[in-house]
């Protein structure tokens, strides 16, 4: 268990204006290799000791952070061995871990949600019910309520401790590409091509609809209970507030442009991450860099802090709870398809330590 007051003090220290995040030394960035194909998603355990990562080869690997070694591997099965094999037989699109570190949930293209015991990687349950690929999973902090989003445009609520299905929520007009949840009984989803972000108030059975991006919204994370950050395939990173139907701040072409001269297209933002209750946001694409941003006052502006060089598609980004490091799951291909393939990239996890430096205090009027 983390020492809560200590973590809070540390976070306050982070947020104070005299402390700034600084680009780490490239030598300190570790690469954990072990997956055969592109890493699609990852989660960090709440005690920051282990990382679970899943990839397109349908395997799940548990890594130890300090040593960087593989603790356990749940191998992936071949297509067609669903009944015999304990594990996934299709691409794993999303993962979630409960806040007490007990349960791990994984969702794949075969419409299944598998629940594992995080400590031993033992298979517990299988949740069926979705009618298309499961694309987003999140546990509610402090409980064993699991929210799942799928390509069948529905959000389902499950109770993992009791192995039960609770309810389904509708509203999205197109496939749901991402889901996130914090302590409140509400979750936020990004609905691909319908360009909406929806906040689901589960107890009230209602939803708040936000409109914003120009292209498909591919990834979303909650910064705190009121704000979220999302990235889309129009290359833009948007910060949203629950009180406004349009993004509070927006950065277009966050990762630059690609393609030939005259046919330039923005780099798709394939993943975003936010340091919980702070003003730091990270976004990843395939332009060989993970970009870190700093939100302005009231989340109104978004300035680039620094970028970390990473080759390949950054399919998943996660900040550790205390903000000590950032983990990027990288692959040769985009997690949702195979539009491009960067041969030079290595499939694995990059652990990027976050260093803070005391800058001179500037007096503001």
């Amino acid at each position: 268990q983390l020492n809560r007051p200590l973590v809070l003090r540390y976070l306050m220290f982070l947020c104070s204006p005299c402390v700034q995040l600084v680009a780490p030394d490239p030598a300190e960035i570790r690469l954990l290799r072990g997956h055969k194909l592109s890493v699609t998603c990852l989660v960090i355990t709440p005690d920051e000791k282990y990382i679970f990562s899943a990839s397109k080869d349908c395997s799940i690997i548990k890594w130890e952070v300090e040593s960087g070694k593989k603790v356990q591997k749940i191998a992936g099965g071949r297509k067609g061995t669903e009944d015999r094999h304990v594990g996934h037989t299709a691409h794993i699109l999303c993962m979630a871990i409960s806040s007490d570190g007990k349960y791990l949930a994984t969702g794949d293209l075969n419409k299944l949600i598998m629940i594992w015991e995080a400590a031993t990687c033992k298979f517990l349950y299988k949740f069926t019910g979705h009618r298309d690929a499961v694309s987003g999973l999140a546990f509610r902090k402090g409980t064993h309520d699991l929210y799942s989003a799928s390509h069948d445009r529905s959000v389902k609520v499950w109770n993992v401790a009791e192995n039960a299905y609770v309810e389904t929520l509708f509203g999205h007009q197109d496939v749901i590409t991402g889901l996130d949840c914090l302590g409140r009984e509400r979750c936020v989803t990004a609905g691909g091509r319908d360009r909406t972000v929806r906040v689901w108030k589960i107890s009230e059975e209602s939803q708040l609809v936000f409109h914003g991006h120009e292209g498909s919204i591919d990834c979303i994370q909650l910064i705190n209970e009121e704000h979220m950050v999302s990235g889309g395939d129009d290359g833009s990173v948007c910060i949203w507030s629950v009180n406004k139907k349009r993004p509070v701040s927006r950065v277009k072409q966050a990762h630059g442009l690609q393609g030939r001269a005259g046919l330039e297209q923005p780099f798709w933002v394939s993943s975003v991450a936010a340091l919980h209750n702070s003003d730091t946001v990270a976004s990843g694409s395939h332009n060989s860099a993970v970009q870190l941003w700093k939100c302005g006052q009231g989340f109104r502006g978004l300035e680039p802090l620094f970028s970390v060089p990473v080759t390949g598609f950054v399919n998943s980004l996660k900040f550790s709870n205390s903000g000590k490091f950032l983990v990027a799951g990288v692959g040769q291909e985009h997690r949702l398809g195979r539009w491009w393939r960067t041969k030079e990239a290595k499939n694995g996890l990059y652990i990027i330590p976050l260093i803070r430096q005391n800058t001179e205090q500037e007096l503001e009027q």
Partner: protein
């Protein structure tokens, strides 16, 4: 056969309902069930039955025994007007009456008649007094519960099903469908229900529907103004010139006779068109000049004067004369004109016999 079975079913239901003045809602449901079944028995009508129905309807119209009708009378009258509702009620009533006739031929109607007479004589004053008290829907519903089944049907027929349902059930439907709460601030996100499933055919990407409009007939294009039109479409004159040149070139090269003739005629047409256009432009220019002169004169203080058509023609003729003189074709023109005039004059001369 099926119809008769249905009728027996109705009989049973009626007898059961007559047994006691039970709860309002049950009775009301029964009436609704029956009224729904009514239209199906349409075909069994006959002339005699229709007359009977007419009679009963008239009695119902004069019925003042039902107290709660007093405040609703105005409504009842209004709802009587559309013919369609009347037909429905005729169907409902008639089948119920059928039942009664089958049960006991004269007794029921006789008793009814008596009650009606009583109604017209004794009740009016009482009606008004009691009517004033019954205002709330609860009281109305309680009043309904005291009626017997036949009376309810009669009331329904008089007032109309819609109004009757409103009294009997209240405004339940409005409470069920709560309108969406208006947003306080238009910048806040929409809040909608999360339980309504999304239909299969849904609009994911907004597709714009292309509206076709003909700029010739569209109001957006405005009115026709020749100077504006000439200015904006000046490029067409250049195109025409170029085309005339290409036709001339082709004419030089062409070998076959038919084609040459075609091209010649085409070229001639083009040249004529050009000439006509130029002439029109010159005329317009002249008119504009004249108008400008007039405006100047007015500006200086003189009164404006306008030329007659004949005067205008004379002026034109004078100008033509000058031009022809310049170009040297005056003689030609004049001789032709004399010939034409001569021919015309000869036609107007009196008829002369041929001399042998």
């Amino acid at each position: 056969m099926a119809a008769r079975n249905k009728q027996t079913g109705l009989k049973q239901r009626l007898s059961r309902s007559d047994a006691g003045h039970g709860q309002t809602i049950k009775k009301v449901n029964k009436t609704r069930a029956i009224t729904k079944a009514m239209p199906m028995l349409e075909e069994n009508r006959s002339a005699v039955e229709e007359d009977a129905v007419e009679m009963e309807r008239n009695f119902a119209l004069f019925n003042k025994r039902n107290v709660m009708l007093a405040p609703e009378d105005g409504k009842g009258e209004e709802e009587r007007n559309p013919g369609a509702s009347d037909d429905e009620h005729v169907e409902e009533e008639e089948d119920v009456k059928e039942e009664r006739y089958m049960k006991s031929s004269g007794d029921m109607s006789g008793s009814d008649d008596d009650s009606y007479y009583y109604a017209t004589d004794s009740r009016p004053s009482e009606d008004n007094g009691v009517a004033a008290k019954l205002h709330t829907s609860d009281e109305l519903q309680r009043g309904l519960s005291t009626l017997s089944f036949e009376e309810i049907i009669r009331l329904q027929n008089k007032v109309g099903t819609k109004a009757y349902n409103k009294i009997a059930y209240g405004t339940m439907h409005n409470k069920q469908t709560a309108e969406p709460v208006k947003r306080l601030n238009k910048h806040r996100p929409d809040e909608i229900s999360a339980k309504k499933s999304v239909p299969f055919l849904r609009k994911v990407v907004p597709v714009k529907k292309t509206i076709l409009r003909d700029p010739r007939f569209d109001d957006l294009s405005g009115d026709f103004r020749p100077e504006v039109f000439k200015q904006t479409y000046k490029f067409i004159d250049e195109i025409r010139q170029r085309e005339a040149q290409t036709v001339m070139k082709k004419l030089k090269k062409v070998k076959s006779n038919t084609k040459r003739e075609k091209l010649k005629s085409l070229l001639k047409r083009m040249e004529n068109q050009e000439r006509a256009q130029k002439k029109q432009e010159q005329q317009r220019e002249k008119e504009l000049q004249f108008k400008r002169k007039q405006r100047e004169l007015v500006g200086q203080g003189h009164r404006p004067f306008y030329l007659k058509k004949s005067d205008k023609k004379k002026l034109e003729l004078g100008e033509k004369y000058n031009e022809l003189k310049k170009s040297g074709k005056l003689e030609n023109f004049l001789s032709k004109k004399r010939k034409r005039n001569a021919i015309k004059d000869r036609r107007k001369l009196p008829y002369q016999h041929k001399k042998n």
